[in-house]
């Protein structure tokens, strides 16, 4: 379906197209079953950021406050980008792993079911 304007040629201005971010991407990160974080977090990251750096720098800043974070068994974590599973490779960049502008990276941590095992 398409919008039905008065006249042909109604083109919406995309207010957050990738060009507006000086080479960076908006990237969203969500932790499955950990609702202490009310919503996935939005960050501005370089698409060339290696996954290792993402894991060791970005993730602790974003999720380190959660008591489960320290106990995560990283090798067993399941990762998805925009709904598709991927295998993280430390030296590959986010872009190479399939992350695009406004993508959602999700991670599921089997065994860690949140505060009080309530998915918090």
């Amino acid at each position: 379906m398409a919008v039905k304007p008065l006249h042909e040629g109604y083109i919406g201005e995309v207010k957050d197209r990738v060009e507006n971010y000086g080479g960076n991407y908006i990237v969203h990160i969500g932790w499955d079953h950990h609702m202490l974080y009310a919503a996935p977090q939005a960050l501005v990251l370089s698409p060339d950021l290696p996954f290792a750096e993402f894991l060791h720098k970005v993730m602790p800043e974003s999720f380190g406050a959660h008591p489960d974070f320290a106990t995560i068994d990283w090798p067993s974590v399941q990762w998805k980008v925009d709904g598709t599973a991927f295998e993280p490779v430390p030296e590959k960049t986010l872009k190479e792993l399939g992350v695009g502008h406004k993508s959602v990276i999700r991670f599921d941590t089997p065994g860690a079911m949140g505060i009080g095992n309530a998915g918090v």
Partner: protein, 328 residues
């Protein structure tokens, strides 16, 4: 105990809203000020209208008139909704008692056939002019800029609907609630050559794109000519032709015209004083519509009041324009 609280501890933290404080200083504000300034959304619009994608939902570019701050157009009557409806309620109370008196005393039976015929032929068709004025004022309210101005246009638009309804009631008084006089008057409006200029003028104002130009065509030119012809000159004619009781039925309009003029004059004056560009543009529009207005109303004026009436109304309009600072 509670008295002590009220006198010592209950100092307000601030006197008014931050925008009002910025405009008028840190002091208690009037209800008009708090209800009228900076309320209109002015930034970060999400979607362009499907019906007008060249503009934002609220956009100063819908008119060629430019104001540094549209909120300079303060209403000297200080009408916000509450004060507006109370002012009109007072006027309608008088009108109600006037119409009631007219009907109970059967004053219509004192009118000569000539007066009645004049009313049907020349006064009742005005309800269609008023209806146009309703649309044109609502237009300025919808597409104009800044609450101070747009609310006043909304009030004016509703005034015109009210006046259209009062004029219709004059018809019902004349025809004993059958509606025949209204149908007859609509016939004149549609087909009588004398009215076709005014009707064409009304239709034209409804297709003009620039809302401020519409205001010039309607409120400045058409209204001033019409109100002088009817509520001044025709009123006199009625007095001289045993029709003075009709004045009871048009008192609302006369009081209204005075009220609305106070506001409109101030709007014009402020817009003219803003810049030479505004002044020049207004002069172009006024010249254009004055010429059309004169052509449109002359047949009505001649037939209703005789030669010379139109010239008098044009002179009244010109004096008003000059007072606003135009053409000088």
């Amino acid at each position: 105990m509670s008295i002590e609280i009220k006198t010592t501890a209950l100092q307000p933290v601030r006197n008014t809203f931050a925008n009002i404080e910025r405009r008028f200083g840190d002091k208690p504000a009037s209800r008009y000020e708090e209800a009228s300034y900076d309320l209109q959304p002015s930034a970060n619009f999400h979607y362009r209208p499907l019906w007008q994608p060249q503009y934002e939902l609220n956009d100063v570019r819908r008119t060629a008139i430019v104001m540094q701050d549209w909120y300079d157009l303060r209403d000297p009557r200080q009408y916000y909704y509450g004060s507006y409806v109370q002012a009109r309620a007072k006027m309608q109370e008088t009108a109600e008692s006037n119409y009631g008196f007219f009907e109970q005393r059967d004053l219509v039976s004192h009118l000569t056939d000539e007066v009645k015929a004049q009313l049907v032929r020349y006064v009742l068709p005005l309800r269609h002019v008023e209806h146009t004025a309703n649309l044109n004022n609502v237009n300025a309210s919808a597409y104009g800029y800044g609450t101070a101005l747009t609310q006043a246009f909304m009030f004016a638009g509703m005034d015109r609907l009210g006046i259209a309804q009062y004029l219709s009631r004059i018809g019902l008084v004349l025809d004993g609630n059958t509606g025949t006089s209204l149908a007859e008057a609509k016939g004149y409006w549609m087909d009588e050559p004398v009215w076709q200029g005014v009707r064409a003028y009304c239709e034209e104002t409804l297709v003009v794109a620039d809302w401020f130009e519409v205001v010039v065509a309607q409120n400045v030119v058409c209204d001033n000519l019409m109100c002088d012809l009817y509520y001044s000159q025709f009123d006199q004619w009625l007095n001289q032709n045993q029709g003075q009781d009709v004045g009871l039925l048009t008192e609302f309009m006369r009081v209204w015209y005075k009220d609305i003029s106070r506001w409109l004059d101030s709007v014009l004056k402020t817009v003219v004083a803003e810049s030479p560009e505004n002044k020049a543009l207004l002069e172009t529009w006024v010249t254009h519509w004055r010429e059309k207005g004169a052509l449109a109303w002359t047949p009505v004026a001649d037939a209703m009041l005789g030669a010379g009436a139109m010239a008098q109304s044009l002179a009244v309009l010109d004096a008003r324009l000059e007072r606003a600072g135009l053409f000088k």
